[in-house]
């Protein structure tokens, strides 16, 4: 009986066979008095109720947390598999564009202006005579960088501010919520046209900062709600009653229980931020050449769409696929973290 030994090792009482044995071991161990013996036999009964088939420790189901459960769901979800493979591919392209093409996207030849796809140049050439395939490949870097950095930034700012508002309530909540409302009220394109047209030297980080500034209120609202929900739970009161400090309550008891909705919204927002970067670049207030960006290329190609549609279709297609991949990932993560929403 290997499992019995296991139990014996852990607790001299629990796994003993007969009443007599149990009595004997109790006396030997001098661990428990007669009064507790009765309780002990009941405990055994309860253990049986716990595990109807009384499996040994080895057979027991491995304990799973919410994250492990979610991961199990995700692994079998085709939407997650497709979207995450796409994203892994896009990220690799963004980091190592030379892996996909040996052509320099800035090495252009005006004599090939607007030529269609030919051998060695599968996507053709744009108005400047640059290779569209190379530009599409190199454009991934700008889009992914802006999307990921803006999301991380907005999620951090939003979680911290939303968390503080939700946890402390009262005036910190009022101040943060009103400020969030103000930023929420700024139409994002109008804000982009106004703010970004003022700044002359537009690096990628200016665009990221702009998206963070206008994007955090959405995540702060979600975070605030999630923190308020988690704060009301009994286990937070219990932790407080057992002497946990505010910091510990926030970081260890509330945050892990509030972070799921933030992750879901942030993943979906990532897709929209990539689209936003392209939109801003299209309008001429986002990224500027020589930075290679899908938005810039779409903008340049739109003038001569009827003559050379390939110039528009390839960067636009890449943009759509990227945005779609991130939104699909967000959906899959939401389904896994909150199955009730499905």
């Amino acid at each position: 009986m290997p499992d019995q030994e296991k139990y014996n090792e852990a607790d001299p009482m629990a796994g003993a066979g007969t009443e007599e044995e149990e009595m004997q071991s109790a006396i030997e161990n001098r661990q428990f008095d007669l009064g507790t013996m009765e309780g002990e036999t009941l405990v055994k009964g309860e253990r049986l109720a716990d595990h109807p088939e009384a499996p040994s420790a080895d057979e027991r189901v491995v304990p799973r947390s919410l994250w492990q459960d979610a991961w199990r769901d995700l692994r079998t979800n085709p939407i997650f598999i497709v979207s995450s493979l796409l994203i892994v591919f896009l990220v690799l392209v963004a980091i190592f564009p030379s892996m996909m093409t040996s052509t320099n996207p800035l090495n252009c030849d005006l004599s090939k202006s607007q030529l269609g796809p030919t051998g060695g140049h599968p996507f053709g050439f744009d108005t400047q005579g640059c290779d569209v395939y190379a530009r599409t490949v190199y454009g991934a870097r700008a889009s992914i960088t802006v999307g990921v950095c803006a999301t991380v930034g907005a999620a951090l700012v939003g979680t911290v501010l939303g968390g503080v508002a939700g946890f402390f309530g009262r005036w910190p909540d009022s101040v943060i919520s009103r400020v969030a409302d103000i930023f929420f009220g700024i139409p994002i394109l109008l804000g982009g046209l106004v703010f970004l047209s003022v700044i002359k030297n537009k690096s990628i980080w200016i665009v990221v900062a702009f998206i963070v500034v206008l994007g955090w209120p959405q995540l702060a609202r979600i975070g605030r709600g999630a923190v308020i929900t988690a704060k009301e739970q009994d286990y937070v009161t219990a932790a407080r009653a057992l002497g946990a400090s505010n910091n510990r309550l926030m970081l260890r008891h509330i945050l892990p229980n509030a972070v799921a909705p933030i992750i879901v919204v942030a993943t979906i927002a990532l897709g929209t931020y990539i689209a936003l970067e392209a939109t801003l670049s299209y309008l001429g207030v986002g990224l500027r050449p020589p930075t290679v960006s899908w938005g810039i290329d779409i903008s340049a190609a739109s003038d001569s769409f009827s003559v050379a549609p390939h110039m528009l279709l390839f960067p636009a297609g890449a943009l759509s696929i990227t945005v779609l991949a991130f939104i699909m990932l967000g959906d899959a993560v939401r389904d896994a973290l909150d199955p009730k929403l499905r």
């Binding site: 607790d11 428990f32 009765e38 009994d234 407080r240 260890r252």
Partner: protein, 352 residues
């Protein structure tokens, strides 16, 4: 059932200041400021607990028993709850005048609380081992590995079978009784001097209730702790409590040593509670019930708050709020520890 222990070293004398009671609540008043008005949840409550003693606070929902315990623990939701008056003297020091940080250090280490619903009182995202170990890590700065060993030790103390294997499990994987044991282990972790158990067995089924209560009583005896047991279950109280305080509408209406109260209640409310317990020898008869509902705390009736439901109510009850009268036996000698907030306690107790 015996609660003595043969193996563990009793820690008698560790708790308390030696002379006074461990905890003394004096004239505690708590109110909730709501949109509808001010609800007076606790109105001048006095009680004391000595080391090794069990005080049961008895009362129906809304009588203020949980709120007074939350005030002692300092976990009252504020707003809307406010302690407006009174003192909570723990080991000779008033908790209410203590600084926030100082008070936090008292919680868990010296006063701990057991909650009614152990499933919702345990954090679902951490394993029970991590939550038990947290007590040591926060208060003693123990290392992760050592904290885990202590967690296993604690789980064995509260007799969770296969503690070593189950220390990495999550709360939802335990049965109700086991979860409550974990809750008890958490409260016990730092060997506090006082444990407040807020309806610790209400969420459990009857067979498990007895086990959990016995375990609690045994551990209390072993560590010589003070225990405040908040409950509405008269059956739970009889076995484990030393003395009882009955609460109604935010005040204590009767205090008594446990056997005195069962033998002869001195307040009509207590009398009604005892009569409403089903008894085998009264099979077939209609079960007594106290008529009406507890008063709305926004509008506590004038005079004795129990008078609208009281079978003994007379004119004076509607006008004068009775103080806690000292209760005497038939010969007129005061009974220690007994008091009743009823104008007609004599008639109630001695049956006129």
């Amino acid at each position: 059932m015996s609660t003595s222990s043969t193996s563990a070293q009793p820690r008698a004398g560790r708790a308390g200041t030696g002379t006074g009671p461990l905890l003394e609540v004096r004239d505690l008043r708590v109110e909730f400021r709501t949109r509808e008005g001010v609800a007076k949840a606790v109105n001048g409550v006095n009680y004391s607990v000595w080391a090794g003693e069990t005080l049961a606070i008895l009362g129906e929902s809304g009588s203020g028993k949980s709120v007074s315990a939350q005030a002692v623990m300092g976990i009252l939701d504020s707003p809307p709850g406010f302690v407006t008056d009174g003192q909570i003297v723990f080991k000779g020091r008033d908790l209410l005048t203590m600084g926030k940080e100082e008070r936090r250090k008292v919680r868990g280490a010296q006063v701990a609380m057991i909650f009614q619903d152990a499933l919702s009182a345990l954090n679902p995202v951490h394993t029970v081992g991590a939550q038990l170990g947290e007590m040591f890590r926060v208060h003693h700065g123990t290392s992760r590995k050592e904290a885990r060993e202590k967690a296993v030790e604690l789980m064995q103390r509260v007799r969770i079978p296969a503690a070593k294997e189950r220390v990495g499990d999550y709360p939802h994987q335990f049965s109700g009784g086991m979860r409550q044991r974990i809750m008890i282990a958490m409260a016990l972790a730092l060997q506090p001097d006082l444990i407040i158990a807020d309806e610790p067995t209400t969420a459990l089924d009857v067979t498990v209730q007895a086990q959990v209560m016995d375990l609690l009583a045994e551990l209390q005896d072993e560590y010589h702790m003070g225990l405040i047991l908040i409950t509405h279950d008269l059956g739970v109280v009889a076995d484990v409590a030393d003395k009882i305080a009955v609460m109604y509408a935010g005040r204590i209406v009767e205090t008594a040593p446990v056997h005195g109260l069962y033998a002869g209640p001195a307040h009509p409310y207590t009398e009604g509670l005892l009569q409403s317990i089903p008894r085998l020898d009264q099979k077939g008869l209609e079960l007594y019930a106290i008529k009406g509902l507890p008063p709305n705390l926004l509008r506590i009736p004038p005079g004795c708050p129990f008078h609208p439901r009281c079978p003994r109510a007379r004119t004076i009850c509607r006008e004068v709020d009775p103080p806690l009268f000292e209760v005497t036996d038939e010969t007129g000698t005061p009974v220690p520890g007994r008091a009743s907030a009823c104008h007609f306690w004599k008639e109630t107790l001695h049956g006129e």
